[in-house]
Symmetry: C2
Subunit: 359 residues, 2 copies
């Protein structure tokens, strides 16, 4: 895929379907419940109608793309875990022992794990649900060099696009995002700081759980990296290439592809939302197709969601990544769509509406 | 059941199992994720271990009890809907058209609807999942009389106890609560105001959606009712009898029975939490077995949860009742238990732990 082709795909994303949204909103008023009494689920059902053009579409087939990659900036000592944990956790995903495996099995979600650039060889041959396409052996250290070339940034997005197109062709009506990559909260915070115009102090958090003392170092690394490259905030690919990660680029592609096919995409936490910011910068209309799965405990996530105009469904103090927040939220998203599809109206059920004098 | 028998059951509730909680907490530290990174789900998994005595018990069989009854105080014009909506909605539950039907089917939850005192005849013969045991044809108008006799209050609790015992005998490992009853936010707010020691203004909200002007009237009705009966806040049955509802008493029984059998119980919103306050007053150890499903949009719910020391799982701005918040939260509760049961440890998965210097 060329950059030109990526831009063309981004430009092909349609506006949400206002007429379908109005139909869903109208239908909510006739369902056997006080108007507005299902809160955010009603809003989500209306947004899903706007995205898909359908009132209460079938979201029973769901796919979550977990992109993994390594980060050169890990050598700066910004994570609580050694870099080899990335490949070890990918193997854990493939053998079904990670949190995302438990949640996705529980929620009937198909998981596709993508090796977008894990430094070590995972040693498992590609199979259904397991895509190996290393853009590179981890990114370069952003404190010293650009994370990747602009060509690699496009390639990372393309990887997510192709993976998502295949999942949608196979029947997925709802897409989710997830990530794995030691040191990727550093990269994601750098990307998010540039794209939101906020300072790294406002965005960066303790990631996997570094002590307060190391957080100051992590913020200094992010500040140095941004100062070194000073990418144009209006150019999503430039920010991704300078400061991002292969999994972040891949997830931006996942989001753009879902939006282009009018499939709702449930965005996970801190890393996935940095990818969503990149996607929205490349393809501004993509944000209409995003649903924020949860609010991460990682400080700065709320700022990122604000920038995208998204309100998170879950607030459970989670900060694991892997798509765990998205997987749990997908259950709520399907429930919202089912309401519109299956609930009886006042007329159908023979239930009286509100008394006129109470309105 | 005599009052004495009810007290004896309440006193039989055991303290949470601290050793099992410690085992679950210890296991969380070995699972392949940074410690604490699953936030509230980790806390819930520890609490479930404390309740059940098991680390990661099987919660795949779930039953939600939806208790319905009418309220004499409806004649005071405190609801946006006419009283016949109670019986109409019960019929809607039985034919599968209500929000709780959609959510429980989606979440593989068995629903038991209980007519604890709907004013009108539902006209559907008892069947599996449908219990008819009218304590009375709705309560009396609490602004003028006690809602029910003390004997009826015990009978309402007994109804919930028997229903829940049967569900647990049939295999349910997780119980949920739900309600239906026009005007029951008035009754629940009155009960909650007395049991929390707060003023009705702090507790009562707009229920099904009455306008601001009628909220003042609703609060006056609650104030009048509390002043008329002045029940002893230390006596849960007295408060229930003076101001409660048959469904509220039934749900208090559901909670006491679940706690007595060490089965976690997911409490729904405003009405269910008023029942939980009654349960906790009759059986103080019952609160250790409660999980707050969600924070209702109904003002005052947060105060009630605070009193019980519970933090809600979901915050979706819902205010429907029927058990809709509990049903959605049950998915998260099962996910929390599955984490402990199924996730691999660092050792099992060959994943490195955090670097010592990062701790």
């Amino acid at each position: 895929m060329t950059e030109e082709q990526l831009r063309s795909l981004a430009n092909s994303i349609r506006k949400p379907d206002g007429a379908a949204a109005a139909r869903a909103r109208e239908r909510q008023l006739h369902l056997t419940k006080p108007p507005g009494s299902l809160g955010m689920l009603e809003d989500i059902s209306v947004r899903i109608a706007a995205m898909t053009g359908e009132t209460g579409p079938d979201l029973s087939r769901r796919t979550l793309v977990v992109a993994a990659a390594d980060h050169g900036v890990a050598v700066e000592g910004v994570s609580a875990y050694p870099q080899e944990v990335t490949v070890q956790m990918v193997r854990n995903f493939l053998s079904g022992g990670a949190a995302i495996n438990v949640f996705s099995q529980h929620g009937s979600i198909d998981v596709i794990v993508v090796d977008a650039g894990v430094a070590a060889d995972v040693g498992v041959p590609p199979a259904p649900g397991w895509v190996v396409h290393k853009i590179g052996p981890g990114t370069r250290n952003i404190r010293k060099e650009q994370a990747m070339t602009r060509k690699q940034a496009v390639e990372a997005a393309e990887l997510g696009i192709e993976t998502t197109r295949a999942a949608i062709s196979a029947g997925a009506g709802l897409i989710g995002t997830g990530d794995m990559g030691i040191a990727n909260t550093t990269s994601a915070a750098a990307v998010a700081a540039v794209l939101t115009g906020r300072s790294p102090t406002e965005i960066a958090g303790r990631g996997t759980g570094i002590p307060e003392s190391r957080l100051a170092h992590k913020i200094a690394v992010i500040e140095d990296s941004i100062a070194l490259h000073a990418p144009d905030p209006a150019d999503g690919l430039a920010v991704l290439a300078a400061l991002g990660g292969f999994e972040i680029g891949c997830l931006a592609g996942v989001i753009i592809a879902a939006a282009a096919q009018r499939v709702p995409v449930v965005v996970d936490g801190f890393i996935s939302t940095a990818a969503a910011l990149v996607a929205a910068r490349i393809a501004p209309r993509a944000s209409s197709f995003m649903i924020a799965g949860h609010l991460s405990a990682e400080s700065g996530h709320a700022v990122m969601l604000d920038e995208l105009g998204l309100e998170p469904l879950l607030r459970l103090g989670m900060r694991l990544g892997e798509g765990t927040g998205a997987a749990l939220a997908m259950h709520l998203v399907e429930a919202a769509s089912l309401l519109v599809a299956r609930m009886a109206t006042f007329e159908q059920a023979g239930v009286a509406g509100a008394e006129p004098e109470s309105r």
